[in-house]
Amino acid sequence: MSNLRLEHITFYYDNEQDVPTINDISFSVEEGEYVSLIGKNGSGKSTLAKIIAGLIPEPDDGIIYLDDQEITESMKREKIGIVFQNPDNQFIGATVRDDIAFGLENKQIPTSEMEPIVLKYATLVGMNEFLDKEPSSLSGGQKQRVALAGVLAMAPEIIILDESTAMLDPKGKREIISLIHRLRKENPKLTIISITHDVEEAYLSSRVIVLNDGKIIMDDIPEKVFSNEKELENLGLDIPFFLKLKNELISLGIDVGNISKLEDLEDYLCR
C-alpha cells in the first residue's frame, strides 16, 4: 500500500510567475521509506515540503493522497510532522518540557496524560535530563532534538525534515542523523522525507529525489542517483566522498569491485 502520493502538484507563489515554483510534480512514498530530497538553492524543496505538510494549504493544481484517500487539512496536521532548519525559531515553549508539550496542548490531550508522553519522547531523543532547561542554555543540536521530540510526540506517520541539520556543527549533525536512523529501526513504519544539502546524509537514505526548477529530474536509490556525477555537477550538486574516491580509483585503473561503504574501501586499500 502506498502511503503518500502526490499527483501533478503545481504551485505558483504569485500570478505573474511564468514558470511555477513547483512544476507538475508526481511521486509516491511508501510507508517506512527514508527519502532524501536534494536540489540546489531555490529549486523548490522547501515549497514542496510546505505543500505536503499543509503549510501552503492549496496548491494551484494537483492532489495529495494519503493511503489512497485524498488528504484533508486535519489529516495533514495529524499525520505529517515537519522539523525546520533554524533550531531557535521552532522552539516555542519556555523550557524543553513546555516545548514538547506544545503540540499535545493543541491536540487537546488531557493534562493528566501529557507528562508521560513528554517524558517518553524527551527520553527517546536523549533530552530527559534537560527537561527544565531554557532554549538559550541548549546547543543547536539539542534544540533540534527537542523539536524532533515535539513532532514525534504528536505521533505522526510521516516526518519531513527541512534541512534540519544544516545549521548544526558536525557533532550536532551526527546526533540528529543517528537519531533518525535509530527512530527508523524502532519504528519501521515511520516515513522520513529529508531535505538536505548534505550528500553524505542523502547517501545513507533509502531513496534520493533530485529536484531542479520545481521538477523532479532523478528519483532512484542513492547509488544510482549519485552515479550521474557529471549531471549532478552541472546542477551544482556534489556526490558523496566515498563515491568520488571510488570513481577516482577506478579511473586510475584500480579495481575496487562492488564495495559500497567507506570503511570497506579502507579495509580493501589497506590489504
Binding site: Q90, N106, M154
Partner: protein, 282 residues
Amino acid sequence: MNNISLGRYSQYDTLLHRMDPRGKIVSMIICMVMVFFSYGSLWTNLIVYAFLMVGIYILMRIAHISLKQLFKQLKVVWMMMIIILIINIFTIKDDLSIFGYVSFTIPGINLTIYYSALITTFYVFVRLALMLALSLILTSTTKPMDLTYGLEWLMHPLKWIKVPVHIIAMMISLTLRFIPTLLDETDRIMKAQASRGVDFQEGKFKEKVRAIIALIIPLIASSLSRSVDLAYAMIARGYDPDKKRTRYRVLKWHVRDSIGSIVVLALFTLLLIAMIFNFTII
C-alpha cells in the same frame, strides 16, 4: 547586555518562589497601591513608609535579592530624581514645618529651599524604590511562563467583552521566549557591524544615529524572518488560536497562597482605614 536584570528569574527554592503567581501578582498590585497612598501627616507618612520598607526588605531577603541588585535598578532613576528635585525646589513652596523651620537659604546663590520640596522629592524617590523592589521580587521569584499564566487567568473575565486573552497571553509568552534570542542577535549584529567599521561607542550624534540604524535594520529584518518561521512551526504543530487547547501546566492554589493573600489584604485594609479616618500617629 547584562544590565537588563529586571525580569530575570532567579533559580532558588524559597517560599516566595513556590507561591502561586496569581496571588503574587495581585499582592504586588495591592502593595504598589499602598506605596502610593499618602497617610496624613508628615510623621505618620514617614512611619508607614518605614514600616513598608522594612516589610519589603524582609521579602527581598526571603527572595534572595540583595540591596545591591535594587541599587543597580535605581541607577536608571537617578537622573529622573535630580530633575524632579530641581523642579520641586522651584515650584513647591508649602509652609511645611520641620523642627520649627519651613525653609533655608543657600548663602552664595541666595536660593531659598523649602523643606517641603525636599520631602516631596524624597517621597517620590522612596515610592519609586519600593515599586522597583516589589517588581524585582515578583519577577525574580516567578518564572516568566508562570507570570503569563497568572496574568492570563486574572484577565479571564475580559473574555466576556471579547478580548482575546489567550492570544495576548501567547504573544506575551512568545515575546518572553524570544528576548534572549534577540539579545544574542543584537550582540552578533553589533559585532558584525563593528567589524565593518561602525562605531557604537563614540562618535558624533550623526554617527551614533548611523550606528543605531546599522543595528536596527538587520535586527528588524531577522526578527521578521524569525516570526515567519515561528508561525510555520506553530501551525505545523497544530496551533490554532480559535481552537480550544488543553494545558500542560496548571496553576495550583495552596493554603500558603490563601494565607499570603489574606495577610496582604488585611494590611491593606488596615492602612485604608487609617487613611480614611485620617488616623495620625504623631
